[in-house]
């Protein structure tokens, strides 16, 4: 009996089966899949700032390839499965995932500006970032507000909601990277960016209170601790990053220079908050995977775990610069190494999921491989 040749296997497989398989995947694609681009981008930026240029260039080019692919998939999903997209927009668990589109746009803009000085591209991406933020913020919150049947707090709130905070801060960050030159009036632009930073703080305070309340007063199962719970830390870290960038930018502003101390104080507050979350999240992770023996199986939501590590590294680096305290750089370096490792593991998980390999893959065979094997046996 001849052993199966992979190429022959897929040649013999019914094209209709492959198309159905891909269509099914597209129909149920999580709106937060742009977290893949977000995570890749932020790890590249953090690597670049700390001198890991080869890694930064590689990840930047991976992101430049991934970003349009994700857009194609999103547009295809909107056209082919509009009902699924609307269902996601009214789902308290999945709707915040759309904000990852906003963040990934900003992260890509920051990458190309920092690494290649493609200022025009970065400016275009800032305007796209702003428009997407407006659409996502007011569409998502409107749809969730007017929805007739709503889940309880325990069912509806999760760490993914913090992506709305991340999205808001991302507008501020890319704007600061462009030195507030988008409007032709730097003072006005800085004022707008500072407002975005404050919007983000307002959202963080509202949402973190709800999440903390949910963790402390509702029963928490291992299933509730999805990878996006790390975004609790990521949102505080990005708020700190935005604050550090704004603080440096307003030094030379006639209008906002006297806010410098206030901004710096809040920046340290949010960096400390992000640092506070890390040990708790690590302990909860150990509880979930070691004590409760929940296996680590690849899930697209794991990209939401990679992003906070990269963001914490970058925000610590920027805070060290803003405060002129070099001892924080050691923390930034440890965080970037952790970020690269977690990115790599998650990337292997994604590849393994696609290939059906033993680790970080689903415990059951993919339906396509099963069909192929059954066909061969027949």
């Amino acid at each position: 009996m001849k052993s199966l040749n992979l190429a022959e296997t897929f040649k013999n497989t019914n094209r209709f089966e492959i198309a159905s398989f891909l269509k099914a995947r597209l129909a149920t694609m999580h709106p937060s899949y742009f977290a893949l681009s977000m995570a890749t981008g932020i790890v590249a930026i953090a690597g670049h700032l700390l001198g890991l240029d080869e890694m930064a260039i590689l990840l930047t080019w991976i992101n430049i390839i991934i970003f349009p692919i994700l857009w194609v998939l999103l547009i295809a999903r909107i056209i082919i499965f509009p009902k699924n997209v609307i269902d996601d927009l009214t789902n308290h668990g999945r709707a915040p995932g759309f904000f990852t589109v906003v963040v990934s746009t900003s992260v890509l803009g920051t990458q190309v500006e920092l690494l290649y000085k493609w200022v025009a591209v970065a400016e275009f991406l800032w305007w796209a970032n702003l428009i997407l933020w407006l659409i996502c913020t007011y569409l998502v919150f409107m749809m969730l507000t007017i929805r007739k049947q709503k889940p309880t707090l325990g069912e509806g709130i999760n760490g993914g909601w913090m992506i709305s905070v991340v999205a808001t801060q991302s507008v501020c960050i890319l704007g600061c990277s462009l030195d507030a030159n988008m409007f032709g009036n730097r003072e006005m632009a800085l004022f707008v960016l500072m407002c975005f930073w404050l919007f983000g703080i307002m959202l963080y305070l509202w949402i973190s209170a709800l999440i903390f309340y949910r963790y402390m007063f509702f029963s928490l199962s291992t299933g509730d601790l999805m990878p996006p719970y790390w975004i609790n830390m990521g949102a505080a870290a990005i708020t700190s990053l935005a604050g550090a960038l704004i603080a440096q930018a307003v030094k030379s502003s006639l209008l906002l220079a006297h806010f410098h101390s206030f901004i710096l104080g809040l920046t340290i507050f949010f960096w400390a908050t992000a640092s506070w979350w890390i040990p708790l999240l690590l302990i909860l992770g150990v509880w979930k995977h070691y004590t409760r023996r929940v296996p680590i199986i690849y899930d697209p939501l794991y990209w939401g775990l990679v992003f906070p590590f990269g963001m914490y590294s970058r925000s610590t680096f920027q805070l060290a610069r803003a405060l002129e305290v070099p001892f924080l750089l050691g923390i930034s370096k440890v965080a970037v190494v952790a970020a690269i490792i977690v990115w790599f593991v998650t990337f292997l998980g994604l590849s393994g999921w696609l290939l059906g390999t033993p680790f970080f893959a689903r415990k059951q065979q993919s339906s396509l491989i099963t069909k192929v094997k059954n066909k061969q046996e027949a």
């Binding site: 009996m1 052993s3 199966l4 992979l6 296997t9 700390l50 001198g51 890991l52 080869e54 890694m55 370096k333 970037v336 190494v337 690269i340 490792i341 790599f344 593991v345 292997l348 590849s351 393994g352 290939l355 059906g356 390999t357 033993p358 680790f359 893959a361 415990k363 059951q364 065979q365 491989i369 099963t370 192929v372 094997k373 059954n374 061969q376 046996e377």
Partner: protein, 111 residues
């Protein structure tokens, strides 16, 4: 007639034996694939850590005008190569495992 029946029996027995051998071979492929996946993964992680440490040392070396660590720049390419080799080994292991999975007994799970 009897000779025909006997030869039919022989074919059936040979087919069963070949199937058993095939499934056993597939299991071996999957075991080999798993080992390569784990090995490649560990090698890549070690390469990432070594690459980061090398780069940080280089930066420190530049900052202190080369008095701290000598020739850390020479380790850059080997560390990147380690990451590349580890990833390649992982990929090869994945394909070997996938091939074994496709040849394995469909009534049993592969994990």
């Amino acid at each position: 007639m009897k000779a025909l029946d006997l030869s039919k029996e022989k074919i059936a027995t040979n087919t069963i034996k070949t199937k058993t051998e095939q499934y056993a071979g597939a299991q071996e492929q999957m075991k080999l694939g798993k080992r390569l996946v784990i090995g490649g993964f560990i090698l890549s992680i070690m390469g990432i850590i070594a690459y980061c440490v090398t780069n940080f040392n280089m930066t420190l070396n530049q900052k202190y005008h080369g008095i701290l660590v000598d020739n850390s720049g020479a380790l850059l390419i080997p560390t990147l190569a380690t990451i590349g080799i580890g990833t390649l080994v992982w990929l090869i292991g994945s394909f070997i495992h996938l091939k074994g999975a496709m040849n394995s007994d469909p009534s049993k799970t592969d994990f």
